[in-house]
């Protein structure tokens, strides 16, 4: 069981690392939001699943399941709020044609 937990934790951390890398590499605001807000979800899911497996069935793992559910609701809502705020302020979005802008 500890091996499975380790594998899940390490994969989750690598995924989160790659998505932070994407935050730096992406051009423009809207593309960065993709990397920052959402690709994290899978990494977080894997890490929480690993911790649940490690604890076995207990009150703590039920709480971790709840965190998982809240991540699922809060993540897209926050991303959507950010994107909508930017859209209303008229933040320009990066297009392939204007490569040189960034």
């Amino acid at each position: 069981m500890i091996v499975v937990t380790g594998v899940l934790l390490i994969t989750g951390s690598i995924l989160i690392f790659i998505s932070s890398l994407g935050l730096i590499r992406m051009p423009g605001f809207y593309t960065r939001i993709h990397a920052a807000g959402k690709t994290d979800t899978l990494g977080q899911i894997l890490i929480l699943l690993g911790l649940i497996l490690y604890k076995g069935f207990s009150l703590i793992s039920v709480k971790l399941l709840f965190i998982l559910a809240f991540v699922f609701i809060a993540n897209p809502t926050a991303t959507h709020a950010l994107a909508q705020a930017a859209y209303r302020m008229g933040v320009p979005w990066w297009r392939k044609k204007y490569d040189s802008d960034n």
Binding site: L15, I18, S19, L21, G22, R25, M26, P27, G28, Y30, T31, I33, H34, A35, G37, K38, T39, T41, L42, L59, V62, K63, F66, F72, I73, N75, P76, T77, T79, H80, A83, Q84, A86, Y87, W93, W94, R95, K96
Partner: protein
């Protein structure tokens, strides 16, 4: 009815988080749950609780989960490549779903699957920002929207 449903959920949540069952805590839990649920009884539930709808949404979640995993892998492939291969576009379409719960579900599902972010959601317009044409393809009238239409039928 709505009052009791809220009360039961709040009480269950309290005991789940505290995990302790001393008399003082139980009394406090009951008192505070009654106060909160009398204030918010019309917030959590619509006029009538629809068991079939809740069941359908529970069936939808595993499918969405799988879509998230698939789409995540797609985005990671893009991020790992030394040269960024993205072609962002803004997609506008009119949603087939018309109810509040359907629009919320669709907007959040689109945002949750990597590669697409809902920027504006409303009964007539959906603005979606997509990382590339392969993500924008199945947005309007795709599998996701069909599933949500199925859920909406139970309303």
């Amino acid at each position: 009815m709505r009052f009791f449903a809220t009360l039961v959920i709040l009480l269950g949540y309290w005991f789940l988080l505290s995990g302790e069952f001393t008399p003082i805590l139980i009394v406090l839990a009951i008192i505070s749950s009654i106060i909160v649920s009398s204030l918010t009884k019309d917030l959590f539930f619509p006029e009538k609780v629809n068991i079939k709808l809740i069941f359908k949404i529970f069936l939808y979640v595993p499918w969405l989960f799988w879509q998230i995993v698939l789409a995540n892998i797609e985005v990671f492939k893009i991020l790992i490549k030394p040269k960024l291969d993205i072609d962002p576009s803004m997609v506008e379409f009119e949603p087939m779903v018309k109810s509040d719960i359907g629009i919320t579900l669709l907007a959040n599902s689109i945002t949750l699957t990597p590669g697409t972010v809902t920027i504006f959601a409303d009964r007539d317009h959906f603005f979606v920002h997509a990382l590339g044409p392969q993500f924008a393809k199945g947005l309007s009238g795709g599998e996701m929207e069909q599933k949500i239409l199925e859920i909406e039928k139970c309303l």
